[in-house]
């Protein structure tokens, strides 16, 4: 076969492949009506950002609020809303921020189009340059005229044309598949305490896990369990400030300010500018009848660093109590 004709056939075959792939991708995109309600819901879950987690979709988040949002997605779809209407529902409440891939608009269009324009312009330049060069050498077949760089650029463009639509068409479905089993009727509570207890059982010496579980206990008013865990976390990692601060607050509210003071002293020894520790130590100091000047010093340092902290009032009150009467402490 004449080499020129062979190259032409290859060109035609490549073009045919590209055309088939593009058509397949478009067809894949344009048949939402064939998907079940659950498939549509899962695809939307992947698109929506979890507002209380940031950076993850509601499909990937175990947070209770994400579960509730997934229920709303299904509720809306069941009521006959289109995918676009469901997106609009959330955008109305949270702005376009709620969409993990916001629609391109304004300046962003330029950013999205720029790579395409640059690739097209680069290919054009290469084609022109090699055509000029090869016209003098071999006024022959197209690929030969294009030269090696232009052929490489064309191959790149074809790979992009093949890869991009396929990638876009396939990606959302793959991710959505992870979260089957959640439906509008069965609202799940995030098994936070159970999950954390399981994690703590697996990692009984991980202070981060212990503190997280203790925090969860504290949130459920299980103060005794929380206290035990904060203490265990501190035994494992004496420098764990979170555990020390939480434990101090519990001890303060349980009327044990002197023990709280010990933990706070330890925290402030390591981090002399920890505002929370300063405020709580001032509070503990007041409760145990510490010298007013030490209470004042802590309260003043807290105020100097606290900015707009809502607890300023508390520090100011302590300052006030420790100021006029040197023996004011009970």
């Amino acid at each position: 076969m004449n080499p020129r004709a062979a190259f032409r056939r290859i060109d035609v075959a490549l073009l045919a492949v590209v055309a088939v792939v593009i058509v397949a991708a478009v067809v894949t995109w344009a048949r939402p009506e064939e998907r079940t309600l659950d498939e549509r819901a899962r695809a939307l879950d992947v698109e929506l950002r979890c507002p209380v987690c940031q950076g993850t979709s509601i499909a990937d988040s175990p947070a209770v609020f994400a579960v509730q949002m997934r229920a709303v997605v299904r509720e809306q779809l069941a009521q006959g809303a289109s995918d676009e209407e469901v997106r609009a529902f959330f955008v109305e409440r949270y702005g376009v921020w709620i969409l993990l891939t916001p629609p391109t608009q304004g300046y962003e269009v330029v950013v999205w189009l720029a790579p395409v324009v640059v690739v097209a312009a680069g290919t054009g330049l290469l084609v022109r340059r090699s055509r000029r060069r090869s016209e003098s050498d071999h006024p022959a077949a197209l690929p030969a005229r294009l030269g090696r760089p232009a052929t490489a650029a064309l191959t790149g463009a074809i790979v992009l044309a093949l890869g991009l639509p396929l990638g876009f068409a396939l990606a959302p479905r793959g991710e959505g598949a992870q979260i089957s089993g959640t439906s509008a009727g069965s609202m799940q509570q995030a098994p936070s305490i159970a999950q954390l207890e399981e994690a703590a059982a697996r990692n009984p010496r991980d202070p981060v896990v212990l503190v997280a579980l203790a925090d969860a206990y504290l949130g459920s008013q299980r103060t005794v369990d929380a206290t035990a865990l904060y203490r265990r976390a501190l035994e494992i990692e004496p420098a764990n400030e979170t555990a020390a601060l939480r434990l101090s607050v519990i001890l303060l509210s349980a009327g044990q300010p002197s023990e709280a003071q010990q933990f706070l002293d330890a925290v402030l020894q390591r981090s002399p500018d920890n505002p929370e520790a300063l405020l709580y130590r001032a509070l503990a100091g007041y409760a145990v009848g510490a010298p007013p000047e030490s209470i004042r010093a802590d309260a003043l340092r807290f105020l100097a660093m606290a900015g707009d902290d809502p607890r300023r009032g508390m520090a100011e009150r302590l300052l006030d109590l420790a100021s006029p009467k040197p023996s004011a402490a009970p």
Binding site: Q68, W97, G219, D309, P310
Partner: protein
């Protein structure tokens, strides 16, 4: 192309290339940092989404019942540490502005009724606490995390929104936006 015109056209291309890159960088700079989170302005100036929720101490409260009164709507939970300070701050606010018809309302966020009721007793929170078990009211208000507070005027329009803890020093100036 002649040999003499080549360097000139190369310089021209370089300038065009640099201009394109400069323009793209400019666009990138303009785009970056723009609305990385839903803007604080969202909801402000709009009609407050309606709700009708059960009170922790029985009965229901709906936003329609409060029409004609300025409303301070605070989302809170017993597990939220800054909410403890806010409970006292908002209880005082409710008492200070009672004569001007201000209604301070708390909406319990991701919490159970027993813990929330215990929190109210413990921290002396006297304004109503409403239960939002489905999270739908929090969603309608676009809550990100708590504490979060909405200042609604007597006409039912949101005039201000506070993400995070309230600040005593700013509270009165914010209140001025909704007081008659």
């Amino acid at each position: 192309m002649t040999g003499s015109s080549r360097p000139a056209s190369r310089v021209g291309r370089l300038i065009i290339g640099l201009a394109v890159i400069g323009a793209l960088l400019g666009v990138f700079a303009l785009t970056i940092g723009r609305e990385t989170t839903a803007g604080a302005s969202s909801h402000v100036g709009k009609t407050a989404p309606p709700f009708s929720l059960e009170r922790l101490d029985g009965g229901r409260v709906s936003l329609d019942d409060l029409r004609g009164r300025p409303v301070v709507l605070n989302f809170w939970a017993s597990w939220c540490l800054p909410c403890r300070d806010e409970a006292a701050m908002l209880t005082k606010l409710a008492a200070d502005h009672a004569d001007r018809g201000v209604a301070v309302i708390g909406v319990v966020y991701q919490d159970d009724a027993a813990s929330a009721a215990d929190f109210m007793r413990r921290y002396g929170q006297t304004y109503p606490g409403l239960l939002d078990p489905s999270g739908r009211t929090a969603l309608d208000y676009g809550v990100f995390g708590i504490p979060e507070t909405y200042f609604i005027d007597a006409g039912g329009v949101i005039r201000a929104r506070q993400f995070g803890p309230l600040v005593t020093a700013e509270l009165e100036s914010t209140m001025a936006e909704i007081l008659p």
